[in-house]
């Protein structure tokens, strides 16, 4: 009797273990999943000044997280229905591929390799970064050729390190590379004068400069040695979902182009048919994306246009707009037509 029960239990347990293996992957868009779940899951960088961090009130805050909120506002009509998953650099793509997160907004550079090999699709970049150099003003350096024989600090194992080597080889400049595992150590060493210069993404240089002992004694060279277009990613092949994320980004660009702000969006009156389509007053662009009629309006109500997102998160850390301004003002932000 005992043995029989033992066998039945063993069989049941085996069946329980195997069942999930037989289950099929559902071939539905992430858009439908997010709607059904009532919550967006967004992978972010958990500690990048200005882009993603935990504010004192325990809420995720920053430039990247604001775009997560914007997607939630567009899809679910509520910018708070988003859950942020902090990810490190190594696990971010796995998290996206395995479906643990719906969208990855974690200062990820758009490269050919990542676009083709990693089973991911990029959406329009939200921030154009580039690698730069910071040196003490006293050295009076204007060009990279003057860094001959200098020691340059860089974080180990990053593309920054490779870019530095490529650039200097092209210029034929000899330098001493000093690598650091930890970003904080890199900047405290530079501050203590142990290296002559430090190289990293300009956004990081700017954010870190204000923590040096005498920020005014240091200058960020007007030289950019790499292109770092950073934007949201979705899983490869889910075009419906990729469209949604892309057009959420365009919506923030579009609103800035037309001066639609968090303040005036609810009362915005215009004869411009494109803006009326954008605000959901006419046309059916929401339906085409599988979103509510007022999706774009919801974005602007909750997080504002691109300029407002930038000013809220990146202006306080001292980042200039640079190329991250509308094409009408000579920048790179160009919204596709809302037609």
């Amino acid at each position: 009797m005992k043995k029989k029960w033992f066998r039945i239990i063993a069989l049941a347990l085996t069946a329980l273990l195997v069942t999930p293996l037989l289950a099929d992957k559902h071939e539905s868009s992430i858009l439908d999943k997010v709607k059904k779940r009532g919550k967006l899951v967004c992978g972010v960088n958990g500690g990048l000044p200005g882009f993603g961090f935990l504010a004192e009130d325990g809420k995720w805050s920053g430039f990247d997280t604001d775009f997560g909120r914007a997607i939630a506002a567009a899809v679910l009509g509520n910018a708070d229905k988003v859950e942020f998953v902090p990810l490190n650099a190594a696990e971010r793509f796995t998290a996206l591929q395995s479906g643990e997160i719906d969208v990855l907004i974690r200062n990820t550079t758009w490269t050919l390799g990542r676009d083709t090999e990693l089973n991911t699709d990029f959406t329009p970049p939200t921030f154009y970064d580039g690698q730069g150099f910071m040196v003490p003003k006293s050295l009076n350096i204007k060009s990279l050729n003057q860094l001959d024989g200098a020691s340059i600090g860089v974080t180990a194992g990053s593309t920054t390190e490779l870019n530095l080597a490529d650039t200097m080889r092209t210029l034929g400049v000899k330098y001493n590379e000093v690598t650091y595992e930890d970003i904080d150590t890199l900047y405290s060493s530079y501050d203590a004068g142990r290296v002559d210069a430090v190289t990293s993404d300009k956004s990081q240089l700017v954010a870190r400069r204000k923590d040096l002992k005498n920020p005014d004694d240091h200058v960020i060279l007007d030289i950019t040695v790499s292109k770092e277009p950073l934007g949201p990613l979705t899983i490869h092949g889910d075009n419906k979902w990729n469209d949604v994320v892309s057009w959420v980004v365009y919506a923030t660009f579009f609103a800035e182009e037309h001066n639609i702000t968090q303040k005036n969006v609810k009362t915005f009156k215009t004869e411009n048919p494109e803006i009326n389509r954008f605000l959901g007053e006419s046309g059916e662009i929401g339906k085409k994306l599988g979103l509510p009629k007022d999706w774009a309006k919801q974005i602007i109500i909750s997080v504002g246009n691109y300029g407002e997102i930038f000013e809220r998160n990146l202006t306080p850390i001292g980042l200039p707009r640079g190329v991250n301004k509308p094409w009408t003002e000579g920048g790179l932000l160009y919204s596709m037509p809302f037609r």
Binding site: L22, H26, L54, G58, S61, F84, N88, R208
Partner: protein, 396 residues
Amino acid sequence: MEELTFTQEIKPPSTKKGPIRWLKDNLFSNWYNTVLTLFAIVFLYFLFKGVYTWVFTQAKWAVIPANLQILSVGSYPREQLWRVAYVVYVLAILMGLSAGIWKGLNQQITSAVACIGAVITLLPIHVNTSVREAAVIATILIAVSYVFGRDRQNLKRWVIIGWVLMFPWMMFMLRGFGENAISTINWGGLLLTLILAVVGIVACFPIGVLLALGRRSQLPAIRWISIAYIEVVRGMPLVTILFMGSLMLPIFMPGDFQLDKVVRAMIALTLFSAAYMAENVRGGLQAVPRGQYEAAQAVGLSYPKTMTFIVLPQALRSVIPAIVGQFIALFKDTSLVSIIALSELLGVSDNILGNPKWTGLKPELYLFIAVVYFIFTFAMSYVSQIVEADLGVGKH
């Protein structure tokens, strides 16, 4: 014949040493010891001066009180914090009752916890009011339930049931259910550290015991599987196991079935420490004399009964120091989950440092976190000493 003359009475050398004598004997006994002492004094002077000036003049401690809530619970939704508070209160009541009913050991542990509560209550820094409030209520609850439980031996059974149900109830409480369920990714700070440690400790113990028994089993299949498991896991660093849990496990998961990140970290920690636990328990099993097994067989006890009632109680008792050491190590190992970007006590410091207001304040945060770890591990080893004394380990 010469006459022996007693010249002077020689006193025995004094065993009592004055402070000057002590200094002379221990620090300035000869010239090179004197030089070493002087060097050490100069070194210590500069060390303490450096530490002192940094701690009291240069460090920006404002980062700690401003982020105390994040350090305690991470991104746990603030409007749901009552869940954490309830868990703490119920724990306080259970501890107070246990201390009142069983006295002895429980009393000491509970008073230690009550002291921590009182310290938080009286902290001179500006802490968030809700943290202080919770500490006050918890301390009072401990005191009240202690007094209540003192003459109520009949409550014994209920308190034991309470402790057994505590763990699943705590998980349920912290997670919530339905629409407002709080995803585990929002567990953070000290809360997540403690949960990981408790889950690891609770879950690795039975697995470890089974593996230890399996390794000594007569059945070759079970024995070899146990040996393979123990040796493979002990041959890998915890970091690689965590990375595998974080990177590979999701790829193998079928379909829409997802284990979330925190659960994967729990599994990795548990499986890792189970292997070490198994070896600790095996040490205890080997210390049990053969005669005990034979005597148990002679009176006709089955294998499970032999183990549960005769062998394991003796085996486990002799390895309590090793097991507690393992628990302390596990508690500290939870800090490694920060490399898979989980926001436990150490990892949450990165989330705070990303705030433009607090960038570059790593030393302050790390020092504070180190102190918190020290308080907990020191309390754990203190408790283990009491447990050992109580059970008379090492006196047989």
